[in-house]
Amino acid sequence: MSTPTAATEPVVDRLATEPGDGLATTTGAGVAAGSRAVLWLALPLAITAALCFLAPLLPLPDPNEQNLRNTLQPPVFAGGDWSHPLGTDKLGRDMLARLLHGGQLTFIIGVAGALVAVVPGALIGLAAGFARGKVDAVVSQLISAQLALPFVLIALPIIIARGQSIWVLLLVLGLTGWAPVARVVRAEAMSVRERQFILGLRAVGASGARIMFRHVLPNLAAVLVVLGTLQVGTAILIESALSFLGMGVVEPDMSWGSILASGQDILKQGWWVSTIPGIAITAVVLLVNLLGDALLVRYDPRKRQY
């Protein structure tokens, strides 16, 4: 039986050396890796957003300046030239300028659209899940009713009645977005309020409002971060879809969704007009969602190590 001894020896070696120098560095590296993930996801998003919002200061042509003698120029990587790095659209407008200017509205609608859904949704869900009883019964029915209505059925009448503007768009995003958020937050709040430390807080005489906002709400932070970031992505996608249907942003304003929509009838002659904003939307939504996951890992104290 000499082989087992030989086989176990390296293992024993490893066990003997690892706990000493291993533990401290792995935990430290864990935090560093978490921070690094957040950084590497936030950085490209921040740079993209900065480029979009600084676009008026950059040496770019006016995004609405037409040049009908220079339409559908391909981007440089598809045989075009550097005068229009991302080509031009069917009216000869510079795609790079349009992409960066359009990003402004896309980012604004993404963030504001998430806020108008998550803030009321979280408060309503928290109140229902924490108070239970009649409040919960009413809110639950409202959530079910809201979720039963197709999005388009809410969005189109409002847009038709109120006209197309960013405020109407935010109203639609809020009206349609609060219910799924409230439903998740309500369920989470119900589970947190049954935890023992909440009973302990009642036992030391803490008030309901204090328990709700100071103790239950922070324990929902993880859920809220995830819901919030997902909602940013959803808002951007909804805006794009509405603009695609001609119900969103109107000329001369532009967003990635409306630029994408403007290329739909010329896909064969100028695929880049739709594809480039499409890639931008996909990349930003993906980054935002990954950032949500990374933030969750980084800022949950239970996952923090010292």
């Binding site: 239970r132 935890r195 023992q196 430390f197 009973l199 302990g200 807080l201 009642r202 036992a203 030391v204 005489g205 803490a206 100071r214 103790h215 922070p218 324990n219 932070a221 104290p301 239970r302 010292y306």
Partner: protein, 279 residues
């Protein structure tokens, strides 16, 4: 004469369920004096936790007190369907729950959690005084590295340490009554012994009365001055520990004693603690 820390008289508690009204506690009377530890022993479902919850008014929604009175430190908090337990929570009554690691908010440092109770119950203190009170109370819990504990999150502390912090939170506003609901059940045996020793030292010789709820008769025998044995919502026997162990009158108490493995093997004459031999 000193006011009893807890005085329960003929308390009845019912639960309304889908199957109708089910009585949980039928006419229990119990007194805990200052500086005394009274054990409430019984199997699961005997109503001991319900009894304790009623004292702080934290019964489940479908459960309510139907008759009887509860007085804490001379102040009647439950009588004739009126429930004023809210006014004594945290001030006159402190509670320690079963699983210490889950009875603290995982997102806040111990310092913040202690501070919050002080902010509520001792708003007269300034920052420095509050720091002193927090340090002192943790030192009373026999915690050595107080500063490290104060700056820790619950998940960074052991179960026993969390339970000490929970006891500190329960005692920080200087209550007359401490309720401990299975507060050692989730701990390993050595830690359990430490917490029991701590409770023993904190209560005996102080003005705090302790109602110690447990299913573990051996543990209660170690710690309590008197033991109430509960079964099916009634106290079947309530006597000083030594008497109860030496000469259990109720058949159920005898069953419980027989169920403690070590004692059953030792035979009647060799029961631990100061129990005098039977007969």
């Amino acid at each position: 004469m000193q006011q009893p820390a807890l005085d329960i008289k003929d308390l009845r508690i019912e639960a309304r369920t889908a199957g109708g009204v089910r009585p949980l506690v039928h006419g229990v009377s119990l007194r805990v004096d200052p500086g005394e530890i009274v054990g409430i022993v019984g199997e699961s479902g005997s109503g001991k936790t319900t009894l304790m919850r009623s004292v702080i008014g934290l019964l489940d929604r479908n459960v309510r007190v139907t008759a009887g009175t509860v007085a804490v430190h001379g102040r009647t908090v439950i009588a004739d369907g009126v429930d004023e337990t809210r006014t004594v929570r945290g001030t006159e009554v402190g509670v320690v729950f079963q699983d210490a690691t889950r009875s603290l908010n995982p997102l806040l440092k111990i310092r913040t959690q202690l501070r919050e109770v002080l902010d509520r119950h001792r708003p007269d203190l300034d920052d420095a005084q509050m720091r002193t009170v927090m340090t002192e109370i943790l030192e009373r819990m026999l915690i050595r590295d107080v500063d490290r504990v104060l700056d820790s999150y619950p998940h960074q502390l052991s179960g026993g340490m969390c339970q000490r912090v929970a006891i500190a939170i329960a005692l920080i506003a200087d209550p007359a009554l401490l309720l401990a609901d299975e507060c050692t059940t989730a701990l390993d045996v050595t830690t359990q012994a430490e917490v029991v020793a701590l409770l023993n030292e904190l209560v005996h010789g102080s003005n705090v009365g302790l109602a110690f709820v447990t299913h573990d008769l051996a543990l209660a025998a170690d710690l309590c001055d008197r033991i109430a044995v509960m079964r099916d919502g009634r106290i079947v026997e309530l006597r000083p520990t030594a008497e109860l162990l030496a000469d259990p009158r109720d058949e159920y108490t005898r069953d419980l004693l027989a169920a403690v493995p070590a004692w059953a093997d030792l035979g009647d004459g060799n029961r631990p603690t100061s129990a005098p031999a039977a007969g």
